[in-house]
């Protein structure tokens, strides 16, 4: 480089420096504070994603294996017993509740509180008919009457003034309501345990006429929004809950990897065990295998199975395990049992892929291949296919961190929007002990410098060791 060119470069650098020095401290402070504030919110959204992605995937995959182990008891989840119960005014929700053992149990035991908040707009009447909640989750049972002459499609969400009130949500029931008909649906919300109260809580419904021009239009003129406000008092909910917490916390160690049972929360609609992985672990522990609660009461032993799990912090070091069924107050003892843990060495947490040649360059083992999922979903999607041994109660899916690095070392982050937010989808075909899993990831349609390096957030890597400890 000639001296004059280098002089230009240095002059430009000096000008840049002077300009930077003139920026006021208060503006810089303000930018940093705003950024941290956004980070707090975005981190919660990220928890939301992992909660919904992780928990739903795990739940879906475990259901299949637990179907054979369905417990039959007076307080464990049992659809045969529930089918005989009369749900009174909530009988209309029978179809929407199908398959949800926690909700069925809540309805069987009269834990759903009638609400009857109703709102009519245009030709639609929406009614929040009942609520069942504890401090960790809630069910909102609602109906929509369609008096128009066209079918409508329903979408719903839980809202509150508090930031990040819901960790994840899912809904059941038919989302289409024909002319002159009433649709019954249930919104299930996993609540953020860090939120103290939910001010101005409301069920927000958006009703869209089921015509192509309305469904595909972004304009609100085809949509009707209805808000059904309700009250949710965390302290009242918590008053009905029992918490067991040992000091120091009980711990389980498998092949040198330790985790703590932080607390067990028994509520009228479910049971939760919060666990925390030891920061000193030499492996990354993804989760426990086939967790269950063994409950002894009056000489009878019942097993409560896992209905879902979700991370309770952004680092993934804490997890809340949600069990289907309740622990009665006169229980004699409760034990927590697992079949092992799923964990990997830190140096195996990288997955390097050439997405142009569709080749896996580095993975924890040779069971993963990559293919384009553009035809199946949309441009920018890739599919990871993995075949291997299947274990009861262990998630077979591969989860990746949302940040990946391109070949130039530049990081990219996948945005969590409704259209592309689900970074991972999964389906498993079990054939005896073998399973094949496909996970779909949206990496964007851009041509990134190759190869791309991802950080693995979950990978089936079992360390089997059956352990049972007494909680109560």
């Amino acid at each position: 480089m000639t001296e004059s060119k280098e002089k230009n470069l240095r002059q430009d650098a000096d000008a840049n420096h002077r300009q930077a020095a003139e920026m006021s401290r208060s503006k810089l402070d303000s930018a940093v504070r705003k950024g941290i504030g956004q980070g707090r919110i975005r981190a919660r959204r990220r928890n939301v994603f992992y909660a919904s992605g992780g928990a739903l995937v795990v739940a879906a995959m475990l259901l299949m294996t637990f179907a054979l182990l369905k417990p039959a008891g007076e307080f464990g989840p049992d659809s045969e017993i529930s089918a005989r119960q009369d749900w009174g005014e909530f009988e209309v929700f029978r179809e929407a509740a199908e398959g949800d053992q926690r909700l069925i149990h809540a309805l069987d035991h009269g834990e759903v509180r009638p609400s009857n908040v109703s709102e009519r707009q245009k030709e639609y009447t929406a009614t929040l008919q009942g609520i069942a909640a504890d401090s960790r989750s809630m069910f909102l049972l609602y109906s929509v009457k369609n008096d128009s002459d066209r079918p409508i499609v329903i979408s719903e969400k839980f809202e509150s003034d508090n930031e990040g009130p819901g960790a994840s949500s899912s809904s059941s029931g038919n989302d289409e309501v024909g002319p002159g008909q009433v649709g019954y649906r249930v919104l299930t919300v996993v609540l953020n345990p860090d939120t103290d109260s939910w001010q101005n809580a409301a069920l927000n419904l958006v009703l869209t006429s089921n015509e192509a021009k309305a469904v595909f239009s972004s304009s609100m003129k085809y949509r009707t929004e209805i808000e059904l406000p309700f009250e949710l008092d965390r302290s009242l909910l918590a008053a009905k809950e029992r918490v067991w917490q040992e000091d120091p916390a009980a711990s389980i160690t498998i092949e040198g990897q330790r985790f703590y049972i932080v607390r067990t929360v028994a509520t009228p609609i479910g049971t939760y065990v919060d666990i925390a992985y030891d920061e000193a672990n030499t492996k990354k522990v993804f989760g426990v295998i086939r967790p269950r609660l063994t409950v002894e009461r009056n000489g009878n032993i019942e097993e409560l199975i896992l209905s879902g799990s979700y991370s309770t912090d952004a680092s993934g070091m804490s997890e809340s395990l949600q069990f289907a069924g309740v622990v009665p107050e006169d229980t004699d003892s409760v034990a927590f049992a697992i079949d092992g843990i799923s964990a990997l060495d830190p140096d195996k947490l990288e997955l390097t892929i050439d997405t142009e040649k569709m080749q896996v360059l580095k993975a924890p083992d040779s069971s993963v291949t990559v293919e384009s999922a553009g035809d199946e979903y949309a441009e920018g999607y890739i599919a990871l296919k993995r075949s291997g041994k299947h274990l009861n109660g262990m998630a077979d899916n591969v989860l990746l961190d949302s940040v990946f690095e391109d070949g130039d070392g530049v990081e990219h982050e996948i945005e969590y929007t409704n259209s592309k937010g689900q970074m991972s989808y999964s389906s498993t075909e079990a054939n005896g002990e073998e399973s094949t899993t496909w996970d779909y990831f949206y990496i964007g349609a851009e041509k990134w410098p190759q190869p791309l390096t991802f950080t693995i957030e979950n990978y089936p890597s079992p360390i089997r060791q059956a352990i049972k400890i007494q909680l109560y």
Partner: protein, 168 residues
């Protein structure tokens, strides 16, 4: 009551953590801004990059294993934010609109030439030159930020300057 006390403690701890984190970023904020300005050439965009970098840093704060490496870590995050913004600009503005935008800001010819040369340069060469000439960092310091051997950085600097000479 115990629950309330416990919740209050958790809230206090969260606030303290946020305040401590703010103080640590605030020590680096002007450097972050200067780096962002060198890449983006716009005060408003550079401030936004500082904001976005603070956001990403908060989310990833638990991944920073060695607190003494915070400065390098923040610089890397800012650079990534700037590169994302530059890519977004490329997608958002067709070339003729870039010309118009630049003309409107009354920049000197030398500066426009430099910006174009940087745009055409491989990002790794650009990072090395930006950190050396605009931030006055040594090859060893740049190596720490970009997680590459010092020898590689020296090569990138040499290649980057060669590229600049060719482009200018």
């Amino acid at each position: 009551m115990d629950d309330v006390l416990e919740d209050t403690k958790i809230d206090d701890a969260a606030e303290t953590e946020e305040e401590l984190f703010f103080n640590r970023i605030a020590e680096q904020e002007r450097k972050m801004y200067a780096i962002a300005l060198s890449y983006l050439r716009s005060e408003a965009d550079a401030l936004e990059a500082v904001q976005e970098a603070s956001c990403r840093a908060w989310i990833k704060r638990r991944k920073l294993k060695h607190p003494e490496a915070m400065s390098s870590w923040l610089i890397r995050i800012v650079i990534n934010c700037c590169m994302d913004e530059l890519r977004r600009r490329k997608r958002s503005f067709p070339t003729d609109r870039i010309e118009e935008r630049e003309a409107g800001e009354m920049k000197s010819n030398e500066r426009i030439d430099l910006e174009r040369a940087f745009e055409r340069m491989k990002p790794k060469y650009r990072h090395a030159i930006m950190l050396k000439y605009y931030q006055g960092m040594t090859a060893a310091e740049i190596a720490q930020v970009l997680h590459k051997p010092e020898g590689t950085i020296k090569t990138w600097l040499r290649e980057g300057l060669k590229k600049l000479k060719h482009e200018l």
